[in-house]
Symmetry: C2
DNA sequence: CAATGACATGTCAAGATTGACATATAGACG
DNA sequence: CGTCTATATGTCAATCTTGACATGTCATTG
């Protein structure tokens, strides 16, 4: 599973609480792998039991601070060397195959919503891009991921605009 | 869930067997929503019980041919008008965030493999694109999805090439 | 000082997904 | 006639994911 490795991987950079991991996922990793607190907390308990992470301290409100152990780091690196699962799941992309079941006007509404969502997301990623120059190895890797998002979104926007013109012709 | 709607949606075009649906998913829908036979067959039984599809005949080797009922078609259209789930899951994309845990040489190997996979897939999609001119509404919708894949893959290839130059500088 | 919102952790049932196990037939080829 | 492959359907346990339920704390603001 990817979640467990992602959790250790984030903790390999710096110690964090479960809640801190949750927020970090929401901000960046969720673009590739969404995770909710109801998944993260039990998974942390499992990783702790397996010795892949350890608790290094505690914060206010019962917060528990974890960090990756050497075993955990080994495990992440091993994972990174295995073949990635290239399957991708996207409900929004799936729906495109069925746009012909709607009338062209409704299909256009859908595509326009997609385009707008892409634009919003792109603006968000561009804001993050402008925020700070990457300095550490970790920041440079995150920047590589970010640029991947930027290029993909620009392509998706271009596609949505083309697709809108296309369904226009369906009327 | 998306799978049940996708199954009805495919059956709205023409009657198919469970196996036919499986192969159809593998060829096209799997790019957006992978599904295995162990998911498809039980789901078809549920859709049948709910009256969203019906069996119209039988083929060799116990094959069962299904088609969408009017209720099923309604259900798909209702689904298409709801907000899509914009969450996307990609193990390969997630790994980018952790490339800094590998040495630059290994990161480059990963990115080169990604680039190659994208190129192979692009060639495959370009072959499908050249295959036949879309004529029916359904074919036109599939073409819209296909062009989405083409534009996205070209952007991903551009990104992978840039990322490779980037990690080159990490050495 | 009371209310609110962000912080912080947890559980659980329902549903979705995977990968393995299981079985059988039709057609093609040697 | 035997073998192999593609066709064809099914089940099941393990795992993953979701969304709801549940609880409590800290800091800010009115």
């Amino acid at each position: 599973m990817s979640l467990r490795h992602a959790l250790i991987g984030v903790l390999a950079d710096e110690p964090r609480t479960g809640y801190g991991l949750l927020k970090h996922f929401e901000q960046s990793l969720a673009y590739a792998w969404p995770a909710s607190h109801s998944q993260i907390y039990p998974e942390l308990a499992r990783l702790l039991a397996k010795g892949l992470i350890r608790q290094t301290g505690a914060g206010p409100r019962g917060a528990r601070v974890y960090e990756a152990t050497p075993d955990g780091l080994d495990e992440v690196c091993r994972w990174l060397r295995t073949e990635p699962d290239r399957r991708v799941r996207s409900d929004a992309a799936l729906r495109i195959f069925f746009l012909w079941l709607l009338d062209p006007g409704e299909a256009a509404v859908f595509l326009a919503a997609e385009r707008d969502r892409f634009r919003t997301l792109l603006a968000e990623l561009e804001r993050i891009e402008a925020e700070e120059e990457p300095r550490t190895p970790k920041q440079r890797a995150y920047r590589v991921a970010l640029v991947g998002g930027l290029l993909t979104l620009r392509a998706r926007i271009e596609w949505a605009e083309w697709a809108l013109r296309e369904v226009e012709a369906w009327r």
